[in-house]
Symmetry: C2
Subunit: 530 residues, 2 copies
C-alpha cells in the first residue's frame, strides 16, 4: 500500500496537489508497503529455488516443430505422450543435431512473440490505442514533495506519472505528442531522445522544479496496446502463459504478476492430473479462469490510459477528467497490483453454494490475510503462512469456542465423519500415503489464548501440534482476533473453508457438511480406494 498523490492545474498557473490517498481499496492486502522490484531479481529467486531442486533452465535451445496427436484415445489418456517437439541446440550448432522430445504436456511461456502460440495458430485479439508514453528511470533533483509517492500529474502542459523505485530511483511516465514519431502504428524511436522527454516532464511539474543531473538508467517509448490470445491451449496438451497470452500497458506493472499467476494456476492442476488425483478435464479451468482475468485487466487498463491521457476537468472543460474519477481508478488499480482483485467464476473447482457461511470471504478469491495465534504457544502468524502452495487442498475448520461442550461435540462428530472409509478424505487419499497427503486440516477456533489447549482438537483432525490456532489478539496486542468477523463466519454455526493449492477459496461447507464435501471433491478428484 503506497500513498498516491494527485496534482491538477492550479488557478494561478502550474499544478497544485488536489489530494493524497492510499492506493488500494481493500485493507486486505497483506504487505502494508510493497516495493517495486526489478523483474530480474524475482527471476533470480525462482532460478535459485529451481536449481536447489535440480532443475536448470537451458536457454540455448529453440523448438523447430510441435505436433499434437489428434487421436481421441491418446488425448483422453492423461499419461499418454500426446505431444512431439523437435528441439535445436544452439550451443552446439556445429552438430546440427535435432532432439526429439515426446511430452505429456507442453507449456509455452515464450513471451509476446510466442513461437508456441504462432505454431498453434492462436490469434491475438484486440488493438493498439492512440496513447503514446515515454518512460525514464533516473534519480531526479526536485522540490516536488511527492517524488517518493505514486503521483498522477495532470497539467495544462501534459500528463506525468511518478512511480518511486528502489533507493532514490524514480520512474517517470510522460505523455508525449505522437504525431511526430509514430508511423503506421510503429514508433520511430530515433526521432525522440530522453532529453526531449525530460523537457516535457519539467514543464508539467511547474511550479516545482525538477532536474535530471544523474545517469538515465533506462528509457523507452511505447504505444499502449492491449491484446489477449483467443485460446490458451490446444486440447489441454499444449498451453501458453504470460506475455504469450496477453499484452497490456506497463503502467499496471502487472506483466510479471499476471504471468506468475497464470503458471501458478496451471502447474498444480497438471501435477494433480499427472499423479492420477484429478481428471484431465480439470485443466480446462486454466483458460476459463485466467483468460477472464486478462480481459478484466485489459479493460481496466484501457479505461485508466484514457483517463490519464484525457484533459483535466476545469471550468472551460466540464467533460474533463475529475480528481474523483482518477482516485477511483487509482484504487481499482491498487486492487489489481496487490493481487486481491482476481476473482474466478463458478466451475467444478469453484462452488459458490455455501457463500452465506462466510459472507465476506468471497469464493473464487484469495484467502484474506489475517493474523491468527497458535494454540500451543501463542505464536502470531498470518493465516497465509498456513496455506503454502504445496499441491494439497487445505481444509480450514472454524468450530468456534472448542472449550464449550456444544462446539467441542461438533468437532468430535466431524472427526468421526472424516475418519469413515466412505469420506472424501479416505477415498481421495492414496491408500499408502500419509493421512494428510491430499487434504491438510487446520483448525482455527475462538477459545481465548490463555485457555485454549491444542490437545482439545481430536487427533484425527490434528497431524501436528502446529495445526491448531485461535482467533485472538497476539500477546503483544494490536493485531489478531478478527478472523471470524472479517470472514463473516458465525462462532456458533462455524464453517469449513476449502482453499485450493494456489490459495484461492474454492468452496465452503457447514461443520456437519462432510456429505457436501464428498460431492464437491467427487467433481474434481478421482477415487483412490477402488
Amino acid at each position: 500500500m503506497h500513498m498516491a498523490a494527485f496534482y491538477n492545474p492550479s488557478p494561478t498557473g502550474g499544478i497544485e496537489r488536489t489530494g493524497r490517498a492510499a492506493d488500494v481499496t481493500a485493507p486486505t492486502a497483506r504487505y502494508p508497503f510493497e516495493v517495486t522490484l526489478h523483474q530480474g531479481e524475482i527471476e533470480k529467486i525462482f532460478l535459485d529455488a529451481m536449481s536447489e531442486k535440480g532443475v536448470q533452465v537451458d536457454r540455448a535451445i529453440v523448438p523447430t516443430s510441435l505436433e499434437v496427436s489428434s487421436d481421441p484415445a491418446i488425448l483422453s489418456d492423461p499419461q499418454a505422450y500426446a505431444v512431439k517437439v523437435v528441439l535445436q541446440h544452439m550451443s552446439r550448432p556445429e552438430s546440427q543435431q535435432e532432439e526429439v522430445v515426446y511430452a505429456k504436456y507442453v507449456l509455452g511461456a515464450d513471451g509476446a512473440h510466442s513461437w508456441v502460440r504462432k505454431t498453434l495458430g492462436i490469434a491475438m485479439e484486440g488493438e493498439n490505442t492512440d496513447y503514446v508514453w515515454g518512460v525514464v528511470d533516473t534519480i531526479p533533483e526536485t522540490d516536488f514533495p511527492d517524488i517518493r509517492n505514486k503521483s498522477a500529474i495532470h497539467s495544462r502542459n501534459g500528463s506525468c506519472m511518478v512511480i518511486p523505485r528502489e533507493g532514490d530511483v524514480v520512474r517517470l511516465y510522460i505523455q508525449v505528442e505522437q504525431a511526430a514519431f509514430v508511423e503506421n502504428g510503429r514508433i520511430d524511436k530515433s526521432k525522440v531522445t530522453p532529453q526531449h522527454l525530460m523537457e516535457v516532464a519539467s514543464k508539467s511539474f511547474q511550479p516545482f522544479t525538477i532536474s535530471f543531473p544523474h545517469e538515465i538508467m533506462w528509457w523507452t517509448l511505447y504505444v499502449i496496446g492491449q491484446r489477449v490470445a483467443a485460446r490458451y491451449s490446444l486440447h489441454e496438451r499444449v498451453f501458453i502463459a504470460g506475455d504469450a497470452c496477453h499484452t497490456h500497458s506497463p503502467k499496471a506493472g502487472q506483466g510479471m504478476n499476471a504471468s506468475m499467476n497464470d503458471t501458478h494456476n496451471l502447474s498444480w492442476k497438471i501435477a494433480h492430473v499427472l499423479r492420477g488425483w484429478s481428471d484431465i478435464s480439470l485443466l480446462k479451468t486454466y483458460e476459463f479462469e485466467r483468460r477472464k482475468y486478462a480481459q478484466d485487466l485489459i479493460n481496466f487498463d484501457k479505461k485508466f490510459a484514457a483517463l490519464f491521457s484525457g484533459k483535466p476537468r476545469s471550468d472551460d472543460n466540464e467533460d474533463g477528467v475529475s480528481h474523483e474519477q482518477f482516485l477511483e481508478a487509482f484504487q481499482t488499480f491498487g486492487g489489481f497490483t496487490s493481487g486481491i482483485g482476481v476473482h474466478y467464476e463458478a466451475s467444478a473447482l469453484v462452488d459458490p453454494t455455501n457463500q452465506h457461511l462466510a459472507r465476506h470471504l468471497r469464493i473464487g478469491e484469495r484467502l484474506i490475510p489475517q493474523v491468527v495465534v497458535r494454540a500451543a504457544d501463542a505464536r502470531p502468524e498470518n493465516i497465509q503462512e498456513l496455506i503454502p502452495a504445496d499441491t494439497r487442498y487445505k481444509l480450514l475448520l472454524f468450530p468456534g469456542d472448542i472449550s464449550t461442550p456444544a462446539q467441542k461435540e461438533k468437532l468430535g462428530d466431524l472427526a468421526h465423519a472424516l475418519s469413515a472409509a466412505t469420506s472424501f478424505r479416505r477415498r481421495f487419499t492414496p491408500p499408502n500415503a500419509p493421512v494428510d497427503a491430499v487434504f491438510d486440516i487446520v483448525t482455527i477456533c475462538t477459545t481465548p489464548k490463555e485457555e485454549v489447549n491444542f490437545t482439545d482438537v481430536p487427533l484425527a483432525l490434528r497431524s501436528h501440534w502446529s495445526k491448531v490456532w485461535t482467533d485472538d489478539e497476539q500477546l503483544a496486542g494490536g493485531v489478531g482476533g478478527k478472523v471470524y468477523e472479517t470472514y463473516g463466519i458465525s462462532t456458533t454455526e462455524g464453517a469449513i473453508v476449502v482453499v485450493r493449492p494456489d490459495g484461492y477459496v474454492s468452496a465452503i461447507a457447514p461443520l456437519d457438511g462432510v456429505k457436501y464435501l464428498d460431492q464437491y471433491f467427487s467433481g474434481i478428484l478421482h477415487n483412490q480406494t477402488v
Copy 2:
C-alpha cells in the same frame, strides 16, 4: 514475547495449571515472538559479516604474556601502543616462533576461564549456590498442553521448567537432589544419566504423560553459580567482556546476550577514542555501565533460582512459593531476556537532566520501539531502524506539527542555531567530513501523513529525503501514531532526544536547547575545529 504457563500441585494429586501469562512486563519489546536460537547460529552471522569486511577469526593462536605500560604519559595518550602481547601460533608448533604484538587496546573475550582476566589478576566475586539442575534437549511425546510454552512446573515430586526450542525440540530443566553426586561443590556426572533425569521429569508431569522416544540431543548437569569480575579493565587499555566478566544460571538464557551487549557498549567508545573524537576517559563508562548490569542480572538470577527450587505454597506450607511470586519473577525475567531491563546510571555520557521532556522514555535505557511513517512516501518503519549502530550519535527531533507556523518557526530557529560555527555540530564534526559524520539528524513530526511534506523540514536538518518521519498510523492502519504519547513528549513543547551509537537514550534537550547540547557534548567529545 512468549506465553508462560504455571503448574502447581492439584488437590487431587499430580499437577494442574494455575495460570498462563505473557512473559514480559513491558509491551515495549520489539519482536512479538522471539525464538530461542543456538549460539552457533548467531556466531555464524557475526563471522560471516566480519568476513565480508575482511576480518577473519584465527582460533589457533594463544597469548603467552601480556604487559601494560605503567608510564602515565603513555597511558594518557590514546594513540600510544600501551600493551605488549606475545602470541604462540598453534597451527605451526614446529616453528616454535612467537609473535609480538604492540597494541593500543586489547579485549579479552576469552570465556569463563579467561586467561586475560587471570593474567591481570582480576578476582571473580560471588559464590556457588546449593541448586543443582539437569538439562535435556529432546523431542518428547506428551499430552501436556503447554509443551510449546515456557512452563514452570512446581510439583510435590520436584520442579521442572519447559523451554520450547526450534522445530519440535524442547529443553527441560529438571531439579535434582544433589547429595548423591556433588562432592566439594563439583558434580560427578558419571553418577547420573539422562534416563535418570527423564524419570524425575515424568513424575513431576503427572497426571500428564510424557515419554522420550527420540534422541537426546544434548544434556548436562550444573550447580548454579553467580559471580562477577571485581574489575573489567586495567588502565582502560586491556578489557575483559562476556563470560570472562560474569557467570550466571543458564536458565536466564542471557550468557550470549549479556556478552554481546558488553562488547557493543565498549566497541563504539574505543572507535571514538581512536578517531580522536572522544577522550580516553570515555572508556571508564564501560565498566561503570556493564558491571552494574551484571550485578543486577545475578541478583535477579539468585532470587529466581531460589523461587524455583523452593517448595510450592500449600495449606501445610504457608511459607512456600506462591503462584503470584512466580509470575512476578517470570515477568521480571522477561524484562531481562528481551533486553529492555537494562538501565545505565548517570555519567558524563548519560545525563538525566531533562527527563521531564520525555517522561516515559527513560534516559539510560534503550529507545522504545515504535512505528513511525516516512513523510516522503508514507512507508511505516520501526524507529529502531532509524538508529543503526553506525558509531554516530542520533539526534531525534520532535517538533510537533510542522505545518503550523509556530512549530515550523522553532524548527527554523533550530536549523539556524545548529548551522552556527559555534554549535556542537560544527565544532565536533571534523572539518572535512560530511555534515552528518558524527551527528545524524532525524525529524519525527506529528503532521498527518496526508499533509506532511518532507520539503517542509529545513535542508540544514535533512541530509536525505528519508530523514523526515511523522507520528501517524500507517496507511494500512493498526499501528503507528503513538510515539509522542508513548515517549511522553508534548506536541507543542517538543524535544530533542540524543541516542548513543549503541541505541541507548543518553540525553534530552528542549527544541531550543542547542546551548545545553553544546555543554553535554563538550563533556564527551573533542573540539575538531581548533
